[in-house]
Symmetry: C2
Subunit: 163 residues, 2 copies
């Protein structure tokens, strides 16, 4: 029996490069996630926004754009979509009427829970070849690279209790 050696495979020197694998896998993970969210009528950006709002309560749009590195004009459309479905609310800040304060509604919190389930499913399929320990190891390695490159990846070590 002839072992299945696909004649069309990537150049060995590319496959040998962690960066190449990182780029390709990162791209396909993103693509697949996007597709799943689209089937649900949303985008992965919507999930990120809800997750952010769930952690630090009241946020202005510029704070959201800043934290997620979204373009402010892109964010407008995303929030429009969420607001139309009653998942977030926008209210003007009385102290500075230029600012919109964005908050999660109960329906938004519920949607977030369903997003979490979806993401867990996608990730679980993607990481199927790895066991628990290996997934943790992968996460650790990636996180160290990420933190080095962008401080926003730092886990906000248990916020110091306010005054």
């Amino acid at each position: 029996m002839n072992a299945e050696i696909p004649t069309n495979c990537f150049p060995a020197e590319l496959v040998a490069s962690p960066g190449f694998l990182l780029g390709r896998l990162g791209m396909s993970f993103k693509t697949e996630t996007m597709e799943e969210f689209e089937q649900a009528g949303f985008s992965g950006y919507h999930y990120s926004i809800l997750a952010l709002l769930d952690e630090g309560s009241r946020k202005t749009q510029s704070a959201i754009a800043d934290a997620l590195k979204y373009d402010p004009s892109q964010l407008v459309a995303l929030l429009d979509g969420l607001e139309e479905r009653g998942l977030v609310e926008r209210r003007r800040d009385p102290d500075d009427r230029r600012r919109q304060m964005v908050t999660l509604t109960p329906a938004g919190r519920q949607q977030l829970a369903s997003f979490r389930k979806l993401v867990r499913k996608i990730e679980d399929e993607f990481l199927a070849p790895l066991d628990e320990d290996e997934r943790a190891a992968l996460h650790d390695l990636l996180l160290r690279i990420a933190v080095e490159r962008d401080a926003r990846f730092a886990i906000p070590a248990a916020a110091p209790s306010a005054s």
Copy 2:
């Protein structure tokens, strides 16, 4: 002294997800690589093509497109760029005059060497926080995921000597 806890960090649940990190890091690695190649007047696609040609000699355009999963029409422009600079040659296959046989020129081989140096530099900076063992571990984990998803990632285990 106040520890630098950036007020604008990603939601913890995202940072805790290997998939999220994979997506973000993969994206930024790709972006940075593209930028470096552009500064050199090329694109990362050019590198992949040269690397592929260097391994298996004669290839038709459709074989290249197939192996690298590039769109055939996209490949035309890429090869035009390489041919103009004398890095590859296109010759019609006498046996089937629809086919273009693409081969690497000596200049192309030289350019490939310089690409390799560039890629090594980029990757080295990107993986700076990890030591040799850790980089190998990362590569191993990523490769296992990649192979599971796409057979083209399989390392073409030392080709069985022809008949």
